[in-house]
């Protein structure tokens, strides 16, 4: 079968494009290198839906961000991912910084950002965000900014795309792309795929993919960002808090998450290694120091986790690379760093325009269903609803994760959904077991048991996130029984 469109990359960019295109009567597939979608940069994204005032005015990403921000309202209604439009503050700690904020406000209003305002009334600022330092002299308030769960949104996009006919293939690392006549032949670690149009949304590896068809005009440099996540009982923020931005990054933010936690981060460090997602002592220290400037009473001891991600920074420029390239049918969507998450819906619109130009027939499907129902959650039922639900299906009462109160039914749903979980992390990102205070301490054996049962494989073949990340080696007596060897590899 020759696909009309093959999307390379299952991050937020690729999945938004997949879902947007799934509206049309086209044969579409998405190829993802890792065992699950949203495994790369998307997973470590801050989850901030930016208002759009901070990108330089000459960049295409500025308008894509402003437009993308507005499209979140509709997308949220249709796809039912966790999203809150709670607003953001850029915090000035010195009077000299106010004029920069005022300029941002002016340009932002001109470019159509709703409700952007400068607040200098300290009392009002503290009412809106009581945790903020007393040293604040003024804030730029953007009510259109918000927070989203980046991986839950990406999963929602993928599920809806799959519901509407997009085929997802995971564990497919692209090795070679041949191009003859009007057909691209993509060879992956798992097979071969043919398509008339290819959309390169491969994140950190977008330059590598682009070069496979001879398009060598950009490179991607990873820029690491580290984060510290705090216990939900320790701190509750109302607004996303930004320090004054520098040339290199938006700075170390303090951000509430849609699940009630708070995180601090990211810092910014350029690196050559596309695989280095390790956190560092120096990096975490930098994050905590930066964060304490905005929230002096930061409960450092209540941190429950730290993690890091890599931004895909295009070399030489900081703007998005969204090109209908010289290779007919090959579209590059690369260098989608901040505000890429906010812009995703607008970026997808651009891709639709490109495909039209390329001659793809964009006929809307009759049975297109934009609604992806909200996944049911134990914690969101009232007692009456819970009682009824359990009577219909007793698996609602079997609680697997005690920290986040997640039932077996939710876990089974997350596995059996389209583009469902196949790994422990897959379950974690879809319905939260392992994200709480004990970080999987009690629930991991039970989640492994469920995955083992659903996929009919022994416990020691269940992985954290794909090949080589198995948890268990062998059965308890196997070394002594020589059923498992002890050779050093």
């Amino acid at each position: 079968m020759i696909y009309d469109v093959i999307i390379i990359g299952g991050g937020v960019t690729g999945c938004t494009i997949a879902r947007t295109l799934s509206k049309y009567d086209l044969k579409i597939c998405l190829l993802e290198k890792e065992a699950d979608i949203a495994s790369g940069t998307t997973k470590a994204n801050s989850g901030v839906v930016h208002a759009g005032y901070s990108s330089p005015r000459e960049f295409i990403k500025r308008n894509l961000c402003i437009r993308g921000n507005a499209l979140y309202t509709q997308a949220h209604k249709e796809l039912n991912f966790p999203f809150k439009r709670n607003g953001s503050f850029v915090v000035a700690l010195e009077d000299s910084q106010i004029k920069d904020l005022e300029e941002e406000r002016k340009f932002g209003i001109e470019d159509g950002i709703p409700g952007l305002e400068l607040i200098l009334d300290k009392k009002k600022i503290k009412e809106m965000e009581p945790n903020l330092t007393d040293d604040v002299v003024g804030v730029l308030h953007a009510p259109s900014a918000g927070i989203v769960s980046p991986y839950e949104m990406t999963i929602a996009l993928a599920e809806n795309a799959a519901m509407n006919g997009v085929k997802f293939f995971r564990n497919q690392k692209v090795k070679r792309i041949n191009h003859s006549e009007s057909v691209f032949t993509i060879k992956t670690s798992g097979g071969e795929f043919e398509g008339y149009n290819v959309i390169n949304a491969a994140g950190l590896y977008a330059a590598k993919i682009s070069k496979m068809v001879g398009l060598d005009y950009f490179d991607i440099m990873p820029r690491k960002g580290e984060y510290v996540l705090f216990d939900r009982n320790a701190l509750n923020l109302n607004k996303v808090l930004f320090p004054m931005a520098t040339k290199v990054s938006k700075g170390i933010l303090l951000c509430p998450t849609v699940h009630g936690n708070t995180f601090a981060g990211p810092n910014a460090q350029n690196l050559p290694d596309k695989k280095d997602i390790s956190t560092t002592l120096a990096g975490l220290k930098e994050v905590l120091e930066g964060a304490t400037k905005l929230i002096p009473k930061l409960p450092v001891r209540s941190s429950i986790r730290n993690f890091a991600g890599l931004r895909a920074v295009p070399t030489g420029r900081y703007d998005f690379i969204i090109d209908n390239t010289d290779i007919y049918g090959f579209i590059n969507v690369a260098g989608i760093l901040s505000p890429g998450l906010t812009s995703c819906y607008a970026i997808a619109e651009k891709v639709v325009d490109f495909l039209e130009l390329l001659g793809a027939v964009m006929k809307i499907k009759e049975d297109y269903n934009p609604i992806r129902p909200k996944p049911e959650r134990f914690t969101e039922f009232t007692k009456e609803e819970l009682d009824k639900k359990i009577k219909e299906d007793s698996k609602w009462a079997k609680i697997i994760c005690r920290c986040e109160t997640v039932s077996e039914r939710e876990i089974l749903n997350s596995i059996r959904a389209p583009v469902g979980a196949t790994t422990v992390d897959g379950v974690k990102f879809r319905c939260r077991p392992g994200m709480g205070r004990c970080q999987g301490g009690f629930c991991r054996p039970r989640v492994i048991e469920i995955l083992s049962r659903e996929f009919n494989k022994p416990y020691n073949e269940v992985t954290k996130r794909g090949e080589d990340t198995e948890f268990l080696i062998c059965k308890t007596k196997d070394f002594r029984l020589k059923q498992c060897s002890f050779e050093e590899e």
Binding site: K475, T476, F486
Partner: protein, 432 residues
């Protein structure tokens, strides 16, 4: 929704819950135990090593044997219990909401409640170890569950962070199953757990104990490949240049236990410094009629002491229900118990003045180890009203003292008691 009414409801069927339940039943009241796991017994079921019961039974038992004694007693006394039942809410008016597969959502109304939920382990994220987040990183208890109950080994070559008893026990356990334990790394300058375990779990097997070191990086993107350890100075700051790499495919963390008080907090009870609920000398929390005992109140080292504490809680809950006391004690009728020099925390958090004539059980831990120490109780005017010598003090061994404040002639106006552990005045030179 099914509704239950009972005199005393107990959350948790581990060592604390079971012992408390037995006392309540012996006291002639109705009791119901709610347990989230698939069997009674709690954490000692996975502690298959021996060393339990020396005080309680004057025998040396394994963890499962200790639990089995109480399980048998619970069954003999026909004490009702529910398994696979997760408590999802506890309210201030002593109503419990729980779920299980057979009955769905249930409501349990009780005249008194005993909290016995135990504790959880401190995680890698909570101590912020930098590096990758590969598979192969476990807390020691998690690994113990897999090896001893689920029947799976998590790896072949291990490094263990933390020389507490559970870390050392697991070092031996894994060695006995044919694994290789490369080292036990401890941030303090001394071993954290019992000497006996250091000898019988580490020295017996040539497992190096590396003190004053901690793990500063985890290597390996998919599966852990090894750890970097660094020496720390007296302020626990990394000594640059002291890094060493140890290859391993599994890391076990034995870095502390935290009482599990999410339900307690959400019910509106006050928590104290040690993450356990604030309690008075009757083990009653700041919510009238709700008592706490075992690891949920304070992390214990000996299960025998958990049992003793749980029995007290059971007896006190019975007295409460039978209305021997039950008034709300106002602030000026209390004596606050404050941790003083070298004391980490003290239980109880306060004493009801009307109980001053009774024997009070104080439990506390020191911050620093030492020899030839003096435990002192000081009143609100800093007068020493009680003291007791102790040859050895170490943070990993909880100290228990039974004191009768009336007998030591405490000033009736005293509203504050400070407990400190100091050097004996006659020791002029610091011993090593």
């Amino acid at each position: 929704m099914k509704q239950y009414n009972t005199d005393v409801a107990i959350i948790g069927a581990g060592s604390a819950g079971l012992a408390a339940a037995v006392e309540v039943k012996k006291g002639g009241l109705n009791v119901l135990i709610l347990e989230r796991d698939r069997e009674l017994g709690g954490i000692t079921l996975q502690c298959i090593h021996n060393g339990f019961g020396l005080h309680e039974f004057k025998e040396e038992l394994t963890g499962p044997e200790y639990a089995q004694r109480f399980i048998n007693e619970v069954k003999r006394l026909d004490i009702p219990f529910k398994l696979n039942t997760m408590v999802i809410e506890l309210t201030i008016d002593k109503t419990i909401y729980a779920v299980n597969e057979e009955e769905g959502l249930i409501e349990v109304k009780a005249k008194a409640i005993i909290l016995a939920m135990g504790c959880r382990e401190r995680t890698r994220g909570a101590i912020n170890i930098p590096g990758f987040r590969p598979s192969g990183v476990y807390t020691a208890g998690q690994a113990q569950r897999f090896v001893n109950m689920e029947g799976w080994l998590p790896g072949k070559t291990f490094v263990i962070l933390g020389s507490g008893d559970i870390g050392m026990i697991m070092a031996r356990r894994l060695t006995w199953e044919g694994c290789k334990v490369k080292a036990v790394v401890e941030i303090l300058p001394y071993v954290s757990g019992l000497l006996r375990n250091q000898v019988q779990c580490l020295e017996d097997y040539g497992i190096p104990l590396i003190t004053s070191y901690t793990i500063t990086k985890i290597h390996g993107r998919d599966r852990i490949k090894g750890v970097t350890i660094s020496k720390v100075d007296r302020n626990f700051d990394r000594v640059i240049g002291s890094e060493k790499f140890i290859e391993c495919d599994t890391l076990l963390l034995s870095v502390g236990l935290i009482p599990e008080n999410e339900l307690t907090l959400n019910a509106g009870a006050e928590l104290s410094l040690n993450n356990g609920p604030v309690v008075d000398n009757n083990l009653e929390t700041s919510i009238e009629g709700i008592f706490a005992c075992g690891n949920v109140l304070q992390v214990h080292d000996l299960v025998d002491m958990v049992t003793a504490e749980a029995k007290r809680a059971g007896v006190n809950a019975v007295e409460y229900v039978k209305n021997i006391y039950g008034k709300d004690i106002s602030r000026d009728e209390r004596i606050l118990c404050i941790p003083g020099e070298n004391v980490n925390y003290v239980k109880p958090d306060f004493i009801n003045k009307e109980d001053v004539g009774e024997d009070i059980i104080f439990t506390f831990r020191v911050k620093e180890p030492g020899r030839r120490k003096l435990i002192q109780f000081k009143d609100h005017e800093n007068n020493v009203i009680y003291n007791r010598k102790k040859i050895h003090v170490i943070p990993s061994e909880m100290i228990e003292l039974k004191v009768n404040l009336e007998k030591i002639k405490i000033n009736p106006a005293c509203g504050r008691l400070e407990i400190e552990v100091i050097d004996r005045p006659e020791v002029l030179i610091e011993e090593d």
